[in-house]
């Protein structure tokens, strides 16, 4: 089978997501589609899968023009998709999720043939070495296994072309290896694979062919044998890019943040943060690695006063901030770049200027009594926009209308533009373009060099490795490793992240000295 997208154009209000894009996929090969966030990769795939409809252009299957009104049409044509955000019903079993929409039934009333469904799932699972239990509940499975359920869904529908949208984003390094093996076996079985990613090393590793999208246009095709990471990055961004973070060795000083045996639970009593202890010293960057959902979010919430801990203590210098409110924590000199900028970092409908003073409208002379001093706030905001290179039409523009990278820069400007003891940056570059990543990383390093203690939490292991002087690994709410960056290997961290390895107890004094 050969699938061709010809001259695809898709416009959304204010943006052209795809602009005259051409792409051909054949069975038996792996095509990597690379591009920055917002380059139009996902839009293109949604068009191919019948979820969006192109404004212009045509799709061809084996040379015949086709129209996909719904995803059902695309499935019938032999196209399958593994979405970035899994499309699984958490309270259903593996088999129920797999057969949904094409359920085997008995009798006239449509009674589900559960035994048949389980048998079929077990069968395909065995064929491709997916090791899935058809009767397991989705919500009880780790993310890596859930992804295999998604793959099984696609195989169950006899897809000849399988699209993976950012499949490695949620996986540990070991799971990524296993995932690549699955991709190889799919290719060997004669299927065509489209692998959407912004991680260039992965594209170079598995692809037979690489297509590059930039601002909605196909800007080039590359043969992985003939191009390297730097060349590909340049093609993707449109200018030379620096891929490593430029920083001097750290000069750790006194401990600034001291966390001692903190423990946090959710409302039903389930442990989220399990007796965690560590220190962050002045002038060092500590990175927290871990697969999403292993307590990092809750740890940051506990440190910033957003979540109460049951036991343990948190000290900032000599000050006890264990039960401090978020405002107290902020006043004590802690900057917080939250993991979800739209939910926790910004008010999307507020202007850039309003967002810039969100954490201190009550301080610093921005208000007298109940009256805000807007001219002063606007003057400060204008300065910050200039200083932190925020690309916005004006400071009165609603923050929600900026690109992801510029939204993040508004937060960075607001949080880092004051005297700081501690910087807590959670997923600081998630969904941000390469140019902004470089900039945000340099600002984080600058904060360290000016003597702040820095805690960076990221599920992107590359980011943790690039920024950190010391790496902490979290697994199921516990710290399973606390290592010096320069004595650590990528793969080693991967084993800790997967819970396959645990470091013997060491005090902070031993790891930092």
């Amino acid at each position: 089978m050969e699938l061709e997208l010809r001259g695809i154009t898709k416009r959304f209000p204010g943006v052209i997501a795809n602009d005259d894009v051409n792409l051909t996929i054949k069975t038996g090969e792996v095509l990597a589609l690379v591009g920055e966030n917002g380059a139009g990769k996902s839009t293109l795939m949604n068009i191919m899968y019948g979820l969006y409809h192109a404004d212009e252009g045509q799709i061809f299957v084996d040379g015949n023009p086709v129209t996909f009104e719904t995803s059902g049409d695309a499935i019938a044509a032999g196209i399958g998709m593994v979405h970035q955000h899994f499309m699984l019903v958490p309270v259903f079993t593996v088999a129920e999720n797999v057969v949904l929409g094409v359920e085997p039934t008995t009798g006239l009333l449509g009674k589900l043939d559960t035994a048949e469904a389980n048998a079929q799932v077990r069968d395909i699972s065995g064929q491709y070495g997916l090791h899935l239990d058809p009767e397991a509940l989705i919500e009880s499975l780790p993310v890596g296994i859930q992804q295999r359920v998604e793959i099984l869904k696609v195989l169950f529908r006899d897809a000849e072309i399988v699209v993976f949208d950012e499949p490695t984003a949620v996986l540990t390094p070991q799971e990524i290896e296993e995932f690549f093996n699955i991709v190889e076996s799919l290719k060997a079985s004669g299927r065509g694979i489209v692998f959407i990613t912004h991680k260039l090393t992965e594209a170079l590793k598995v692809a037979d062919r690489i297509s590059v999208l930039r601002r909605g246009k196909t800007v080039g095709e590359a043969d992985p044998a003939e191009i390297d990471e730097i060349g590909l990055a340049e093609l993707m961004v449109g200018r030379p890019v620096q891929l490593v973070v430029d920083k001097a060795p750290s000069q750790p000083g006194e401990p600034i943040l001291s966390v001692d045996q903190i423990h946090a639970v959710d409302s039903s009593g389930r442990t989220l943060v399990d007796h965690v202890s560590f220190d962050v010293h002045a002038g060092e960057i500590v990175g927290v690695a871990g697969v999403q959902g292993n307590g990092q979010t809750e740890l940051v919430e506990a440190l910033t006063g957003l979540r109460d801990v049951i036991t343990g203590s948190i000290h900032l210098g000599s000050e006890d901030i264990t039960h401090a409110t978020p405002r107290d924590v902020h006043r004590a000199g802690v900057a917080h770049i939250p993991e979800d900028r739209q939910r926790a970092g910004l008010v999307g409908d507020f202007s850039v200027a309003e967002n810039m003073v969100l954490t201190r409208y009550h301080d610093d002379g921005f208000s007298t009594g109940i009256k805000m001093d807007w001219p002063k706030a606007r003057a400060v905001a204008a300065d910050l926009v200039e200083q932190y290179d925020v690309r916005t039409p004006s400071i009165q523009t609603a923050a929600g209308n900026l690109s992801g990278g510029n939204q993040q820069k508004v937060i960075v400007a607001r949080e880092l533009s004051r005297d700081l003891e501690l910087v807590i940056a959670s997923q600081p570059t998630r969904g941000v373009d390469v140019g902004s990543i470089e900039y945000i990383h340099s600002q984080v390093v600058k904060a360290r060099d000016e003597g702040a203690a820095v805690l960076v939490v990221s599920t992107e292991l590359d980011e943790v490795m690039a920024l950190s002087d010391r790496v902490i690994v979290m697994f199921r709410g516990r710290i399973v490793a606390n290592l010096r960056r320069d004595e650590t290997e990528h793969n080693d961290i991967g084993l800790y992240m997967a819970g396959a390895k645990e470091q013997p107890v060491k005090t902070d004094a031993e790891t930092t000295s």
Binding site: V91, V99, L112, I310, R478
Partner: protein
């Protein structure tokens, strides 16, 4: 060797620490509140029941069998047991026995209450249970309508309006033709109203709670208006006659169970059958799998080619028909329509959905609790207990508040409930 184990002073101490920590502040607060609740109940027993008329109350069980209960000693027992339970609950908690003890205490309290109310007189226990099942019937039907909507992701707060529309339509059409045609017309009218709710919610993304309220008030206003302007002036349009009870041959002669279960109108049998059918359909068929998928994760269903919006339209419309049938229960019961005859039972049905955890069998259980409250309140009014009749009418709502507050957020609600689904 893990990081935490090595810092542990001793295994026993560690286990103890874990146990005390496994109770969250939330759980501790709940346990304490429950203890206070026991003391309040014990206080009521001391203040009211112990000072009752005295005398033995006789509970009849149909036929010649009966049980006699001495009021005052029972009241003392109830007060002492509840106070003791409250003490234990507050001081050290009752751990795993908490739910079982609460159920036992509730039954003891209700029995004491009945003995107090019927002191020196006869109290037909089978009759009360028969009436409880009867009163639960429209609640079950309303709740099944709610479950059909909510399982597919649409909040239907308009159950009350759909019931009322069903009651009015069956009375009007039933009087002009016959009651069976009236019932069919009620199902049709409520189905159309429910479809309007689905249409506004799905097509225009109008907030589902607001649409539901609009429908409730629209139906209440319109039926009240038509009742005073049309039905009152044309009495021949408001008299259907009632549907009589049908004794199931054989089964109705079983002692105790027979008079309760098998001497009812066909509404009771239909509601029980619908509970079984809906359960089977929801959890054993293709239709049910898709319905639940659409309510939990519509995008997952949509990307697999399931038509999410059509599924929601169909489910909500069927739910409307079920609610219309439920509404006709009032007409079949009293033989005519009165203004606001449903009197908030549609809202109790919503509580029944929640307390029954969106499961038809759970809803039946919850509806029986409310039906029992209803029947008891009615009995107390007849027994002339001195409790003001206004308060007795409030009892079902008061119990709803108590039960919903205590069941609270423990229940799993369909994840996509109330969220509009957009097809691109």
């Amino acid at each position: 060797m893990s990081v935490t184990d090595s810092t542990t002073p001793g295994t026993d101490a560690y286990v103890g620490m874990l146990e005390s920590m496994s109770r969250t502040p939330e759980q501790k607060r709940r346990a304490r509140n429950l203890g206070i609740g026991y003391f309040v109940a014990a206080g009521i027993a001391l203040a009211i029941f112990v000072r009752g008329d005295g005398g033995t109350s006789t509970f009849t069980l149909g036929g010649d069998s009966s049980i006699g209960l001495p009021g005052i000693p029972l009241a003392w027992l109830c007060a002492i047991v509840l106070a003791a339970l409250g003490g234990v609950q507050i001081s050290r908690g009752t751990a795993k026995l908490q739910s079982a003890l609460l159920a036992a205490a509730t039954i003891l309290f209700i029995v004491t209450l009945m003995a107090w109310a019927a002191a020196g007189r006869q109290f037909s226990l089978t009759g009360t249970l028969h009436d409880a099942l009867k009163a639960a019937t429209p609640l079950v039907l309303g709740a099944i309508a709610g479950i059909l909507c909510e399982r597919s992701g649409i909040i239907n707060i308009a159950i009350e309006g759909l019931l009322l529309a069903g009651a009015f339509t069956s009375a009007l059409v039933g009087s002009a033709t016959n009651i069976w045609i009236g019932i069919l017309a009620a199902m049709a009218v409520s189905a159309v109203l429910a479809w309007v709710l689905a249409w506004l919610a799905i097509r225009f993304h109008v907030d589902q709670v607001i649409v539901g309220f609009a429908i409730n008030f629209f139906v209440l206003g319109l039926t009240s208006f038509l009742d005073s302007r049309v039905l009152t002036k044309n009495p021949q349009l408001n008299g259907t006659g009632t549907i009589a009870e049908w004794e199931v041959p054989g089964l109705s002669s079983i002692p105790i169970v027979g008079p309760i279960l098998f001497e009812q109108t066909f509404y009771v049998y239909a509601a029980l059958a619908l509970v079984a059918i809906t359960t089977w359909m929801l959890f054993k068929t293709k239709w049910g799998l898709r319905t639940r998928a659409v309510g939990e994760h519509p995008k997952a269903a949509g990307t697999l080619g399931v038509n999410v919006l059509r599924r929601r339209y169909i489910n909500v419309t069927i739910a409307g028909a079920v609610a219309g049938f439920g509404g006709s229960w009032w007409t079949a019961d009293v033989g005519r329509f009165n203004e606001n005859i449903t009197n908030g039972r549609g809202f109790i049905a919503l509580a029944v959905v929640l307390v029954g955890r969106h499961h038809p069998v759970g809803a039946l259980m919850a509806a029986l609790v409310f039906g029992f409250t209803d029947a008891l309140a009615l009995k107390f009014a007849i027994l002339n207990t001195g409790i003001p009749s206004e308060f007795l009418e409030l009892a079902p709502f008061f119990v709803t508040l108590l039960v919903v507050a205590s069941v609270g957020r423990g229940a799993h609600v369909p994840a996509a409930l109330g969220k509009p689904y957009e097809e691109d």
